[in-house]
């Protein structure tokens, strides 16, 4: 792609720099041809693995069938959540159950592959749910390569508290996603966000958390204090965020399970825009002093703080590279908001954004290969990505107001908020594939902003 700085406004049919290795079910015919052509290809087909690029322009979603897991109602519910996850990823076409020829399959049995081949189903999942008593469930599941007539991986079993049945479905979805694409999944994750209610000039904002698919929403703060920009710890069930509690806007740390809160550091001014380091040991944030905002990091165990930027500018929205060695942030030191990269210990930053407009809220991809950002140009707010050296800028979403991207832990999907204009307008959450395709609204109980994606749960 070179160092092209052009905006690709559609975001469509644009190749993405890296490829995703995956497993594709060969058709029988393809396998025969390849086995004739070369020994190497024969070896590949024996593993039923090829490299296929699911990030190029018009990828056909992989046809997959999810049979209802055997068992009582929760078994069907688990199957439905799996099907929904895979469908929403945009990478899979989930075959309608009504079309199935083989209606049931014991978890210990083998599918009638010919019944699935005629439907052009390439992958097939089945399973069974058993109640173990004591409020626990056992879930067995299998994933089949229909055209290779074998299992993608040996059947797996997991045991989980019955009330966590949705997690079982997400974990299985991740196994299927990884088995078929070669990429880690992102379904067993949560989103922390700001729930917004009330009129625009008196908005009540609460921290809230939900599963990645919008289920299990619960609020974490009462709404008496303005709260903004929650971010997940990469290693613990913790959130850092900004609160106006007591009329003093500062960065806080919140334990999700216990509700325990603490102020981060003892700074002589407003602290804001916090984010964890990749190992969860530090929080990097902005400190406002007079008209200037500078970036500081604080070690959470020693409580030592380090000033990372200085000067008469607004330096904010810091985000670490996944190896922890560098920080990308926005600064108006050059006159208006642009993106800069510096060493994690501070020092002279390099400007990386040079397009027309203002660049802000940079977030480093968990893969390390891209930085997502908000861009303001022509009266619009866009979501885009660029490489850490500033090349290869692509716009994924545009419109009146899109802001604040966050990455799924596999670096494949982004979430952001989109605000509608006017007195009745407000923000809602959207996810979009890195290709700019498969934009989806995430349903929330009311207006929602400032999403942050968790790492994969343990």
């Amino acid at each position: 792609m070179g160092r092209d700085r052009t905006d690709f406004s559609s975001g469509k049919n644009v190749s993405v720099e890296y490829k995703i290795k995956g497993t594709l079910m060969f058709s029988l015919l393809q396998k025969i041809i390849i086995s004739i052509i070369s020994v190497i290809a024969l070896t590949l087909s024996a593993n039923a693995k090829i490299e296929f690029d699911i990030t190029r322009g018009n990828v056909e979603p992989l046809p997959i069938a999810i049979m209802d897991f055997q068992g009582d109602k929760v078994a069907q519910d688990i199957s439905a959540v799996i099907a929904n996850n895979l469908r929403n990823s945009g990478l899979f076409k989930v075959t309608d159950k009504a079309a199935f020829i083989q209606k049931t399959l014991e978890v210990g049995g083998r599918p009638k592959f010919e019944d699935w081949r005629v439907l052009n189903v390439q992958a097939l999942a089945n399973g069974a749910v058993t109640s173990l008593g004591g409020g626990r469930l056992r879930v067995d599941f299998r994933l089949w390569d229909v055209f290779a007539s074998n299992e993608v991986f040996p059947g797996e079993r997991l045991e989980i508290e019955a009330k966590l049945w949705r997690r079982a479905a997400h974990i299985i979805s991740d196994k299927i996603y990884e088995g078929l694409t070669g990429e880690k999944g992102y379904f067993d994750t949560r989103i922390v966000f700001v729930d917004e209610s009330g009129p625009k000039n008196k908005r009540v904002k609460r921290l809230a958390i939900m599963d990645q698919d919008g289920a299990n929403v619960r609020t974490l703060t009462r709404g008496s204090d303005l709260v903004l920009t929650p971010r997940f710890s990469p290693t613990r069930q913790e959130i850092t965020y900004m609160s106006f509690e007591g009329g003093q806007p500062r960065v806080y740390l919140l334990q999700i399970e216990t509700g325990q809160r603490e102020v981060v550091g003892n700074f002589p001014g407003m602290t804001f825009s916090p984010r964890f380091s990749p190992n969860g040991q530090k929080i990097v944030m902005s400190l406002q002093q007079d008209g200037n905002a500078n970036i500081y990091s604080m070690d959470l165990s020693s409580r030592n703080t380090t000033r990372l930027t200085s000067g008469a500018a607004i330096d904010t929205a810091p985000s670490y590279s996944p190896d922890g060695s560098r920080i990308v942030f926005e600064s108006d030191r050059g006159g208006r908001q642009q993106l800069y990269v510096m060493n994690a210990s501070g020092g002279q930053p390099n400007r990386i954004s040079f397009g027309n407009g203002r660049y802000s809220t940079p977030v480093w991809s968990p893969r390390g290969d891209l930085i997502a950002f908000t861009k303001q140009t022509g009266g619009k707010f866009l979501i885009g990505v660029m490489k850490p050296d500033g090349s290869g800028e692509r716009i994924l979403a545009e419109g009146f107001h899109n802001e604040g991207p966050t990455w799924a832990p596999n670096g494949r999907v982004l979430m952001f908020f989109r605000e509608t204009p006017g007195a009745q307008g407000g923000p809602r959450l959207y996810s979009i594939d890195l290709t700019g395709r498969n934009e989806r609204r995430i349903k929330t109980p009311s207006f929602a902003s400032d999403p942050a994606w968790s790492p994969l749960l343990d």
Binding site: L226, P249, M270, F272, G291, T316, A317, S360
Partner: protein, 172 residues
């Protein structure tokens, strides 16, 4: 904005508008957040706008100044308002004040927090230069979180790019 209608009719507003006789934007500078509660149509000396009262500060002096897009530079109109604020605050020295800096919605959240703080700081520095003791002044930024006008055009956004001088409970 509903509040605008009632203020435009108020004698206090008319007096100010004639007195200032400046550009149209001066009108908007006289729109208080809490006009309804302050009984703006009552301009009696013994009422809510009595000399030395918060009502007088809000309606006669003007409790807020406005900024250009992405700017914290005080306009001539803003400096004139702040000069009056400083004179009033020096005459009535019992009120500590909090300067609230705000930004419009056409910016990103983190930057707007800093921009609001910058506007509050510029306002504080001007009042301080006019003799208001710095230890009487507290600043806070609300970024884009507390708009006063919620329509979707430039006239509303310009009302939201503001710094408001809020009187807090008198001491002593």
């Amino acid at each position: 904005m509903l509040a605008a209608t009632s203020i435009l009719k108020s004698p206090a507003f008319l007096a100010l508008a004639v007195g200032l006789a400046v550009a149209g934007c001066a009108k908007k500078e006289k729109l208080p957040d809490n006009s309804g509660q302050l009984g703006l149509n009552n301009n009696n000396l013994g009422g809510a706008n009595a000399p030395g009262s918060p009502g007088e500060f809000t309606t006669q002096i003007g409790d807020r100044v406005f900024f250009e897009t992405d700017s914290s530079i005080l306009t001539p109109t803003a400096r004139s308002t702040l000069t009056r604020q400083a004179q009033w605050l020096l005459r009535y020295p019992n009120y500590p004040i909090t300067i609230e800096g705000h930004a419009d919605e056409r910016g990103t959240r983190e930057y707007n927090l800093a921009l609001g703080a910058r506007r509050a700081a510029a306002t504080r520095d001007f009042l301080s230069s006019q003799g208001v003791p710095r230890n009487r002044i507290r600043t806070i930024s609300f970024g884009k979180e507390r708009p006063v006008a919620v329509c979707n055009d430039i006239s509303c956004w310009s009302q939201n790019r503001r710094a408001r001088t809020a009187l807090t409970t008198p001491q002593g």
